[in-house]
């Protein structure tokens, strides 16, 4: 009966349809206010001058060589990070899925790849500075290079690759696991070597996943603001940092808006390509069902050793960076005075306390709102039928798909004045995080709902349950994992993200990430490191708690892999 709509609707009593209509109206109101309206304001600012529509500003921006260079640099960086990150991610996916590691080793490596995903965006960059900067542990102390020139493409590329490769790993591993070992065995049985099977069977089967991973990383790098701000230096400008400098340095909102829109073209293309690549792919295969497959023997010993060495070295590098960060947070002055001290922590809990308090308030208020918003919108899109459903899905994803710089500038332009003068409040920060990071919860809800057959609701009805009872006792418990996923992502991002909110902080409401950035520019490396350690500790603790709650409260068969990804 697929593709068939029942014209004779299952009987819905009136109160429920009224509640649904009211809910739909409220959601649309929020979507228009916090997604459509800011973007419209951004476009108006960019293309409206002297009371008329004009592309002059755009053409002027495209004539500027510095802007064009920033665009070219952004694309080059994104391409390199996409390619390299996908390869590293593939190496990890292969090692963990095919190298028959012991469960404990596998879990350890798997857990450590998770670290960059939950860290503030500059963690890797700061560690890079500690390691390769003018007073860096490796460049200065180890190699004795006096004037290290680390800023530029190479270090930005390396830091971003290290930060984002786990996303590729997470996208690739379930795909590798879902390929039945029968395919490879079939190839062996036909006389192919392992390498031949890998080349002719495995790789072609995961090409969509590889393309998807590449596009994901391309998009991440394109939108990344923090890493280039710290590591790119003045010679290698990229679009997000250029836009930021236009606005904060020259108070030129219009140029900033135009620059951020230049980002929109490649970002839009990537999003479109990605939708095409993943279209029609079943979510069910990504739930880890297939991971319980039999032992595979698809890698030769040499390949296993090579892969493992590579992964262990990468993981060691990550650990080294985090150790360095921790070390910098507990010594007087990194690189000069290695006396142990808690001074930096004292600083962040006194002078930095307002930022910590603000960040936690924003994150804690945003978390339940984002979780709730995610499952409500997900349920509406995934389980009900109404006019404009597809439009709601697209609009709800916009702020997530757009680079943070665009969203930040749009919010800045939209909420400075009436009717919604929110600049300088906590509301604007919370709204920014909720609408930008809840789409994960929305998508997880939709994916879970796809696994929950309609008969589940009918079974409940046949046993005498009303619609409300069915929702509360059957549907809600089953989509609870999505709620937790939504909570986790909104919390993590509220603690760590910066690209959009850097435009929205004020004297009254600031954020830890912004403080870290300030510290970095003032070369107050100790407090920057201490702040980063604090954020990582809080995020690890909270996601840990959420994971425990998730495990306790949800059905094993409908569990999502883990929170925060």
């Amino acid at each position: 009966m697929t593709g068939v709509n029942v014209s004779a609707q299952p009987m819905a009593p009136h109160p429920r349809s009224f509640a649904r209509a009211a809910g739909l109206f409220a959601i649309w109101l929020l979507l228009v206010a916090f997604i459509v309206y800011p973007l419209v304001m951004l476009l108006l600012r960019a293309f409206l001058a002297d009371g008329g529509f004009t592309l002059d500003a755009l053409f002027a921006a495209l004539k500027s060589t510095s802007n064009l260079r920033a665009l070219r640099n952004s694309l080059l960086l994104a391409f390199l990070v996409g390619a390299a990150g996908t390869l590293v991610g593939l190496a990890f996916a292969l090692a963990l899925d095919r190298a028959n590691l012991g469960p404990r080793t596998a879990r350890l490596i798997d857990g450590l790849t998770f670290l960059p995903l939950i860290s503030p965006p500059f963690t890797t960059s700061i560690a890079f500075v500690f390691s390769f900067g003018p007073r860096g542990l490796i460049t200065y102390d180890l190699l004795g290079i006096k004037n290290s020139q680390m800023y530029g493409l190479t270090s930005t590329f390396a830091a971003e690759t290290l930060t984002y490769f786990p996303i590729a790993y997470l996208a690739l591993r379930p795909m590798l696991a879902s390929i039945s070992s029968n395919f490879e065995e079939a190839s062996f049985s036909l006389g192919g070597s392992r390498w031949h099977a890998f080349r002719t069977v495995t790789i072609p089967l995961i090409i969509p996943a590889l393309a998807n991973a590449f596009l994901l990383l391309f998009g991440c790098s394109l939108a990344d603001f923090a890493t280039p701000l710290i590591l790119a230096g003045s010679d290698f400008s990229v679009l997000p940092t250029e836009a930021y400098l236009q606005i904060t340095g020259m108070f030129d909102l219009r140029s900033g808006a135009i620059l951020s829109l230049l980002l929109l073209v490649p970002a839009g293309l990537v999003f479109y390509a990605q939708e095409r690549v993943v279209a029609g792919r079943s979510y069910v295969t990504v739930t880890g069902k297939a991971s319980a497959s039999a032992r595979r023997d698809s890698l030769s010993t040499g390949a296993k050793v090579a892969l493992l060495t590579f992964c262990v070295l990468t993981v060691a590098l990550i650990l080294y960076f985090y150790a360095l960060l921790f070390w910098a947070s507990i010594v007087q002055a990194f690189g000069a005075n290695q006396t142990l001290t808690l001074d930096h922590y004292r600083v962040i809990f006194t002078e930095g306390l307002p930022a910590i308090k603000d960040t936690l308030i924003v994150a804690i208020i945003g978390m339940p709102l984002g979780g709730l918003y995610g499952i409500i919108v997900g349920y509406l899109i995934g389980r009900t039928k109404f006019v404009g459903r597809r439009a709601m899905e697209v609009v709800s994803m916009l702020n997530y798909a757009l680079p943070g710089t665009i969203v930040g500038i749009a919010y800045l332009l939209a909420f400075n004045d009436k009717p919604l003068a929110l600049t300088g409040t906590a509301t604007i920060l919370i709204a920014c995080y909720v609408f930008r990071y809840s789409p994960t919860g929305i998508r997880t809800t939709i994916a879970l709902l796809q696994q929950i057959d309609k008969s589940m609701e009918e079974a409940s009805a046949s046993l005498g349950a009303s619609n409300l009872v069915t929702f509360r006792r059957v549907m809600l418990p089953l989509i609870l994992p999505a709620f937790f996923a939504g909570l986790g992502v909104v919390f993590i991002r509220s603690m760590t993200a910066i690209s959009a909110t850097i435009f929205l902080v004020s004297i009254d409401w600031t954020l830890i990430t912004v403080k870290i950035l300030e510290n970095m520019t003032e070369v107050a490396l100790g407090p920057a490191a201490a702040f980063s350690v604090f954020v990582i500790a809080v995020v690890v603790a909270v996601t840990g708690l959420l994971n425990v709650a998730l495990r306790r409260m949800t059905a094993p068969s409908l569990r999502i892999s883990r929170i925060g990804t």
């Binding site: 014209s7 057959d453 008969s455 009918e458 079974a459």
Partner: protein, 358 residues
């Protein structure tokens, strides 16, 4: 125990909107009375409207026309949760976040029964399906057959007035299917709940039902006991659906006192029938493969073995006799009786083995 309930469907239709093909009528103006305590099976190929009919009885779907009466009371507009039904789904539809106990207790909790009653109800339900002691398990820890039993226990625990089954055994392997169907049959007899059962498996339908309604293209084409349908099919469709059938066409040569002589591609066959047949008219007849016997000796109707499948307890032959190809089943063949492809034989047919479709 409450008195069993009568279900009456009066002129019900169901129309679907299809994305590309416009309106599709899945059930067309269907009338059906299900007797109190009866086990009725809706049998048909996929797309014949049997599941839609069942879902309308359950209240999951509203008919676009007609009405549904439970003991004379019109329930057409009563939602499923107030129809007092037990429904067993093809995919079981067990709640994965609840234990076996909580799944079975679900309906009892909705009825706000006290803890002691719930315990007793669940215990009884699990005992009735042979799952005592498994209440603490999670659904994912059960085998397919056990899950099917939990689904059954959950449906009967609320002591419904109607039991509805939507192809409940189609996900089980053949052996388990036979075991479960006799269990369902025993349970239904014990509980005497009016039951509607949907399947596409004719053997299952014959084994389990008091009456079978054969459906095709949204209509009931014949309804009756298994034996009636088998012995007196009203159409080629029914004859072909219930058991195997050779469909032949002949001309009536003579008729007297319950016997008709037919000319079938040049051979004369005498057939028993209650119907009056006009001499010279063309009639269709059904010959069951198991009614035909083969022998090596010469007979009235010589044939040639075109193909043979040996299945142990029986052998199936394709026999050509003139222009006619017949499917023949030979039960429990001895080594001497077994024919091989290319052998000649004679085809013997008792008059009672042929049914006229008139």
């Amino acid at each position: 125990m409450a008195k069993s309930l009568e279900i009456r469907l009066r002129g019900i239709s169901a129309t679907f909107q299809h994305e590309s093909r416009g309106d599709i009528t899945a059930v067309k103006d269907l009338d059906l009375i299900i007797q109190p305590g009866e086990f009725l099976t809706l049998l048909g190929a996929s797309g014949c409207g049997k599941t839609t009919t069942l879902r309308m009885i359950a209240g999951f779907q509203q008919p676009s026309a007609g009405e549904i009466l439970f003991d004379g009371a019109n329930v057409t507009n009563v939602p499923a949760n107030r129809r007092d039904i037990g429904f067993v789904f093809q995919n079981y539809a067990l709640f994965p976040h609840l234990s076996v106990f909580e799944n079975v207790a679900y309906g009892l909790r909705i009825k706000r029964q006290n803890a002691a009653k719930i315990d007793a109800g669940v215990e009884q339900g699990l005992r009735q399906v042979g799952l005592q002691g498994l209440g603490g398990r999670m659904i994912s820890e059960l085998s397919g057959g056990q899950q099917q039993r939990v689904a059954l226990a959950r449906a009967i625990a609320i002591k419904p007035r109607v039991l509805l089954f939507d192809e409940p055994l189609s996900n089980l392997d053949a052996k388990l299917r036979v075991e479960m169907r006799s269990e369902i049959s025993r349970l239904q007899e014990e509980l005497a709940i009016t039951t509607v059962y949907v399947t596409h498996d004719q053997e299952e339908a014959m084994a389990i039902s008091d009456r079978i309604a054969i459906m095709n293209e949204g209509r009931i084409v014949q309804i009756g006991k298994a034996e009636e349908l088998y012995r007196k099919p009203v159409s080629r469709f029914v004859a072909g659906f219930l058991g195997n059938a050779n469909l032949v066409r002949g001309t009536a040569l003579a008729a007297d006192g319950g016997r008709v002589t037919l000319d079938i591609v040049g051979h004369r066959w005498t057939v028993a029938t209650d119907a009056t047949v006009t001499i010279g008219s063309v009639v269709d007849a059904v010959v069951r493969p198991e009614a035909i016997s083969l022998s090596r000796s010469d007979g009235a109707l010589p044939g040639i073995v075109e193909g043979r499948v040996f299945l142990g307890e029986k052998a199936e032959y394709r026999i050509r006799t003139g222009d006619l190809e017949l499917l023949v089943v030979q039960w429990n063949p001895t080594a001497g009786e077994l024919l091989a492809a290319g052998d000649t034989c004679s085809v013997n047919l008792p008059a009672a083995g042929v049914q006229l479709l008139v």
